[in-house]
């Protein structure tokens, strides 16, 4: 949490100064204060601390889980970064080894590389907020990465530590075989499937409560269950208690990963030669032979 706050000020090009042990001060301008505290706020020296005792002594804004100042900072941060892009440079991979691996993978066929090029494959990282509403509401965050060529969801963690900020030249980007909408739908379907296999107590509890309440409602409206009032009350009950799992995307990023393309000459057993194009995506471990 502390690091997050300092990173926030750093990204705002501000440098908090520790004026007393545990109490920081930063000159926040009008723009930042309006974002933090509303349009009526003006630029001021913002003093903050992570220690409740110090907050009381020095009157500094307390930053702790649930505090107003932390929440205001989190709200500002969360409005940022809805869409971004990053890439993994090619040089992180040893191209000769990849070439060797590809040629070795062709089995009995003999092949040699006529020429090679380096492009980028496209992935989309989507951060999805999942909200389960049963008797209570519980939210969780899930990051799903979809290959925009195949539309498939990456089943293993994406190596985010290799990512570097920024996009890549448009001309180097490989073609996309899946729309963004489809990618999101695939991500949501994958997530639903995964979560449906998990713990379901929240839904079971809400479902049994709903059944119980509905039976009480029927008892109350005995002999009158065809009435509009009964239907309205039943609808109200379902709206309140019917278990729902809801998903919405919070933010997304285009991730460009190395795509090694080769023009190969494959020599068959009878000595005939064929030219083939092969591309290899080391992140998805996907090899595509034309």
């Amino acid at each position: 949490m502390e690091q997050l706050v300092f990173d926030f000020f750093k990204l705002c090009s501000l440098n908090p100064v520790e004026i007393r042990k545990g109490v920081w001060q930063v000159q926040a301008d009008d723009g930042l204060m309006k974002e933090l505290d509303g349009w009526r706020s003006q630029g001021r020296l913002l003093q903050f601390t992570f220690d409740q005792r110090l907050a009381e002594i020095y009157g500094a804004d307390l930053i702790c889980p649930g505090s107003y100042r932390l929440n205001s900072i989190l709200q500002v941060i969360r409005k940022q970064g809805r869409l971004s892009q990053a890439h993994i440079p090619h040089h992180y991979f040893h191209e000769p080894s990849i070439q060797k691996k590809i040629l070795g993978g062709l089995g009995a066929q003999r092949a040699y590389v006529v020429n090679s090029s380096q492009q980028y494959a496209q992935y989309m990282e989507i951060e999805i907020l999942t909200e389960v509403r049963g008797l209570h509401k519980k939210e969780s965050l899930h990051t799903v990465v979809v290959n925009l060529f195949s539309g498939k969801v990456l089943k293993f963690p994406f190596p985010t530590h290799l990512l570097r900020a920024g996009g890549v030249p448009q001309g180097l980007v490989g073609r996309r075989g899946c729309s963004f909408k489809q990618a999101f739908a695939n991500a949501a379907a994958h997530l639903h499937q995964t979560l449906a296999q998990g713990e379901q107590k929240w839904a079971e509890e809400a479902h049994s409560k709903l059944v119980l309440e509905e039976s009480k409602l029927r008892e109350f409206f005995v002999g009158n269950t065809g009435s509009d009032e009964f239907k309205a009350k039943q609808q109200e009950l379902h709206r309140r208690l019917h278990p729902v799992m809801r998903m919405d995307a919070l933010r997304g990023a285009l991730l460009f990963t190395p795509l090694f393309r080769y023009r190969l000459v494959v020599v068959d057993a009878d000595g005939s030669e064929r030219t083939k194009n092969l591309s290899y995506d080391p992140i998805g471990n996907l090899q595509e032979l034309d």
Partner: protein, 591 residues
């Protein structure tokens, strides 16, 4: 999007409605995929607006932190409001926090908050509203209150919970305000009612919900027809006369909780006010109703210390008092009980100030017959001749000995003016507070009293939510005959947030009716030192058939001797105490 400084982008909250992209039915639940978030991302993609990777990763960390915080099963609002409460001096009591927790985590937002008076039901409701807002479970909220409480709700929500609600003024407001405070009487009328019925509310709050005790009223049927997900009903008196009232209230929030009315009557009603199977009934009520009582587990109120100050009237004052009393008795005998009200007022005023008595007498003279008129004219002349006011002398003496802030209560405007005149003349700074002041002026007077003046002279005991906890000295210049009014007076200062013992100074004139009233209220009912919960219910239960004041007046009119009056007042007091215990032991033991 407006770039306000490097890399920080200002974005307004999404205004377009979030649509359902995909719906899947699973065994136990429904799966929904919303399109709103992704549409915004695609919008950015199309416009090629990419935020920096640093902001993106920071935002992801912020998401995780915030979601992690919300996973707590405790109230988010408490942490969120901590600093605000420190600024405005709000202390949330454990019973209020427990109530909010129970409503949210156990009752799924359907509850009757039936705390006894003064335990902070509004704070509990505000806390629940804030919690639902913070958790994103409620957006459209409607608060229906009596018209007199609209602004009180507005201020409470704003000051204590940082919630800016709208106050309904026009038909337009229903559709366009997410959080709206409205008068129940307005809302239930057309064209408003039809508009409201069409809107699905996330949370509906009904203040003073006992007004919906009768299921055949328009108000009841209207509230029943509002589409709501969560519903809170606030009342200190869920039962006033009949257990059916409680049944009706519960049917509003959880129809079927107590079965059909026939089965409820069979299972739980011995008599109108007497429950059958109280334990079982209490178990069912506990699922939908929370009732905190004033006891050690809820709040430790500071003490009330009573100081009776007996004032002896001068012979001239005493003679006028006797003559006015005689006039009242004779007039009442002649006129009967129909026109008793002005006579009661006259009898009460003569113990307050002769100025007030003279003004009332003058008004009454317009409708008097010739016999009364002659007596009244002579009385009026004598009243004007009296230059001394022994009670005000005693008040001046009392005030001289008190250093802190003082609220002086009187029932009459004329007495209020006279008291202020005397105190100002003696060099004290005073302020007047009465029911004719607008809400804004009342706030201003309260502020001035807190900051500047030492003395507030008030004719208003109700005060509509204006509380004076910063003051702990109350002077009753005259005594209201009705215990409700007395409790309201003391309640202005002796309530949640009062940290000091409250001193109550009662000025009572010797050998007058006030002595007897004091005997009844203080010695018999013990009104001053203890808080009698549900006074209105007890008074209703007494079934006097007329006002409390009239019942007392009857005793005075019917008896001459001091001993006889005492005896009658003793009986009356015992009846009150019996009524109090009956109320507790019949219906209240199930609450």
């Amino acid at each position: 999007m407006l770039q306000i400084f490097p890399d920080l982008v200002r974005r307004s909250d999404p205004s377009e409605p979030t649509e359902l992209l995909q719906e899947t039915a699973f065994d136990n639940y429904k799966g929904e995929v919303l399109s709103g978030g992704f549409k915004r991302i695609v919008g950015d993609l199309r416009s090629k607006h990419f935020d920096t990777w640093s902001w993106y990763t920071l935002a992801k960390r912020a998401d995780a932190l915030l979601i992690g915080q919300q996973e707590t099963t405790d109230l988010l609002a408490v942490e969120y409001l901590k600093e605000r409460w420190k600024q405005v001096g709000v202390v949330a009591y454990p019973h209020q926090l427990d109530t909010a927790r129970r409503v949210i985590f156990e009752m799924q937002g359907q509850a009757i908050l039936a705390d006894e008076v003064g335990l902070g039901k509004t704070i509990e409701a505000g806390l629940i509203v804030k919690e639902y807002l913070l958790r994103g479970l409620a957006k459209k909220i409607l608060i229906l209150t009596p018209a007199s409480l609209l602004w009180q709700w507005y201020h409470e929500l704003y000051e204590k919970f940082a919630i800016t609600a709208g106050i309904q003024r026009t038909e337009w407001d229903w559709n366009h305000s997410d959080i709206l405070i409205a008068s129940l009487d307005t809302a239930k009328r057309e064209p408003h009612a039809s508009v409201i019925r069409k809107l699905p509310y996330d949370l509906l709050i009904i203040d003073e919900a006992h007004k919906l005790k009768n299921s055949s009223t328009i108000g009841y049927r209207f509230v029943n027809s509002i589409q709501k997900k969560y519903c809170l009903m606030l009342t200190a008196t869920p039962i006033q006369n009949d257990l059916k009232e409680l049944y009706n209230l519960i049917a509003l929030i959880q129809p079927g909780q107590l079965g059909s009315y026939r089965s409820f009557k069979d299972r739980f009603m011995k008599a109108k006010r007497t429950p059958k199977n109280p334990r079982e009934l209490k178990g069912l009520l506990d699922q939908v109703m929370i009732r905190n009582r004033r006891d050690e587990e809820t709040i430790q109120f500071t003490d009330r210390i009573v100081h009776p100050i007996v004032v002896s009237l001068s012979p001239k004052e005493q003679s006028i008092y006797t003559r006015v009393t005689q006039f009242v008795k004779e007039s009442s005998k002649r006129q009967g009980l129909e026109n008793i009200l002005p006579l009661i007022t006259l009898q009460r005023e003569v113990c307050s100030s002769f100025l007030a008595t003279a003004l009332t007498l003058e008004k009454m003279m317009a409708n008097m017959d010739s016999e009364d008129l002659a007596v009244a004219a002579s009385l009026l002349k004598d009243l004007a001749d009296v230059k001394q006011n022994s009670k005000c002398d005693a008040l001046e003496e009392l005030v001289a000995g008190l250093s802190d802030k003082i609220i002086i209560f009187t029932e009459y405007k004329a007495s209020q003016e006279y008291i202020r005149y005397r105190l100002e003349k003696a060099g004290y700074s005073t302020l007047a507070f009465d029911g004719t002041l607008s809400r804004g002026k009342k706030q201003w007077v309260r502020h001035m009293f807190q900051q500047e003046a030492q003395i507030l002279v008030s004719t208003e005991s109700g005060g509509e939510g204006l509380n004076f906890q910063f003051c702990n000295q109350v002077v009753n210049f005259d005594l209201p005959w009705n215990p409700m009014r007395l409790e309201q007076r003391i309640g202005r200062v002796h309530r949640l947030g009062q940290t000091r013992d409250v001193h109550i100074f009662n000025l009572l004139t010797k050998d007058t009716i006030e002595e007897h009233i004091m005997y009844l209220l203080h010695e018999k009912i013990n009104m001053f030192e203890t808080i009698i919960g549900e006074l209105d219910t007890i008074l209703l239960h007494l079934n006097l058939g007329r006002s409390f004041e009239s019942a007392i007046m009857d005793i005075f009119l019917a008896h001459e001797e001091k001993g006889e009056i005492r005896e009658q007042l003793d009986r009356f007091g015992e009846r009150f105490i019996q009524g109090q215990s009956e109320v507790k032991t019949t219906t209240w033991d199930i609450l």
